[in-house]
């Protein structure tokens, strides 16, 4: 007499636990932020992006240098110096961009 009752209680228990797990999962999905997947084509864009960043930085540095040269009449002293600075700035931006990509991949993978 006790055996079937005990079994029924057990299955009830199990389904209740399952229900609890489902409620928790749904709640987590409701509250937790959703992660978007990175597309493969993003990598395609990265090399191009880095080249642009480097060139633009050199050009901006060169422009500042050229302006200083124009003001002081020292062409091409500051043009060269600030071109170098621009190159360094470009490298720095590229490194930051690359770090951003790595973070992005890290957060996207798990």
């Amino acid at each position: 007499m006790a055996a079937p009752d005990g079994k029924a209680g057990e299955t009830d228990r199990k389904s209740l636990d399952e229900l609890g797990a489902r409620i928790d999962a749904a709640r987590q999905q409701l509250d937790g932020p959703k992660r978007e997947q990175t597309t493969k084509y993003k990598t395609l864009n990265r090399a191009w992006q880095m080249v642009v960043e480097l060139v633009v930085s050199v050009v901006v540095g060169g422009c500042i240098g050229y302006a200083l040269d124009w003001a002081f009449g020292t062409l091409p002293l500051f043009l060269v110096i600030f071109g170098g600075f621009g190159f360094a700035a470009g490298i720095k931006t590229i490194l930051a961009t690359a770090r951003g990509f790595i973070d992005e991949d890290d957060t996207a993978s798990p």
């Binding site: 642009v52 930085s57 901006v60 600075f85 621009g86 700035a89 470009g90 720095k92 931006t93």
Partner: protein, 250 residues
């Protein structure tokens, strides 16, 4: 390319599609701000966005229709992007960022339609967009941090001797931002459309080339749609990154 151009020969002008045509002139003396095909397609983009979003949200039901759920995913996508990249504080600028994102997205996608015009393939537009972001973000940084905003350029943890040099480098890379920001979007949109045009011209040039050209156009068009979406995303996420720098100074 042959000088003795014949009918059906490679008669390609891939840049022709980017021509600005004036419908009427509004001459202010210093500049002509007449209404052009670019302006027309900018307003077509605005109208398309408004029609799409308006019809999507007008139902406003608890269980969303397909359109509504697309509109809501775009909304949540941009919102999560802003919050994840620049923090909760940046959410008050979300309407601006969303406007820029959806405008660029719509312009990029409308540009995919044959014989249409891609507003975002012109540097005038992308430079304007990027400079607006640059100036707004810089102003936001100064409003929030005051003169302390300059510490963003001052590498305090670097060796003392290197600091001035590093500071110049920081300033240069900061100034380079709006330029690379605008070139990335404009050049991508321009290059993709130019390439499509060139391959399309190949198809018209010789019967032998029709099949590979059409296949190439189909593939490239798919890629271009992807690039159109991706570039809108990239422009927006960079906006968020710059906003994050201004709000949180790294």
């Amino acid at each position: 390319m042959a000088k003795e151009a014949v009918e059906g020969e490679l008669n390609i002008d891939p840049m022709h599609q980017f021509d600005i045509k004036y419908f009427f002139d509004i001459d202010l003396g210093i500049a002509n701000i007449g209404f052009t095909n670019s302006a027309l397609f900018a307003f077509i983009a605005v109208a398309a966005i408004v029609v799409f979003l308006w019809s999507a949200v007008s139902g406003h039901s608890l269980v969303p229709s397909r359109m509504q759920s697309v509109a809501e995913s775009i909304y949540e996508f941009v919102r999560n992007m802003v919050r994840d990249t620049a923090g909760d504080e940046a959410l008050k600028y979300f309407p601006y960022i969303f406007t820029v994102f959806i405008f660029i997205l719509a312009c990029n996608l409308i540009g995919m339609i044959p014989y249409s015009f891609t507003v975002t393939s012109h540097f005038a537009v992308t430079v304007f967009l990027a400079l607006s972001v640059f100036i707004s973000v810089t102003v936001i940084g100064f409003l929030k941090h005051g003169m302390h905003f300059f510490s963003f350029f001052w590498p305090a943890q670097a060796p003392a001797a290197l600091r001035p040099v590093l500071c110049i480098i920081e300033v240069i890379s900061y100034l380079a931002r709006p330029i690379s920001h605008s070139i990335r979007l404009g050049a991508n949109m321009m290059a993709g459309h130019a390439v499509l045009k060139v391959i399309g011209a190949f198809a018209g040039a010789s019967a032998l080339l029709v099949v590979p050209s059409v296949l190439g156009i189909v593939g490239l068009t798919a890629l271009e749609v992807l690039v159109a979406v991706l570039q809108a995303y990239v422009f927006t996420i960079l906006t968020c990154v710059y906003l994050n720098d201004a709000l949180n100074l790294h």
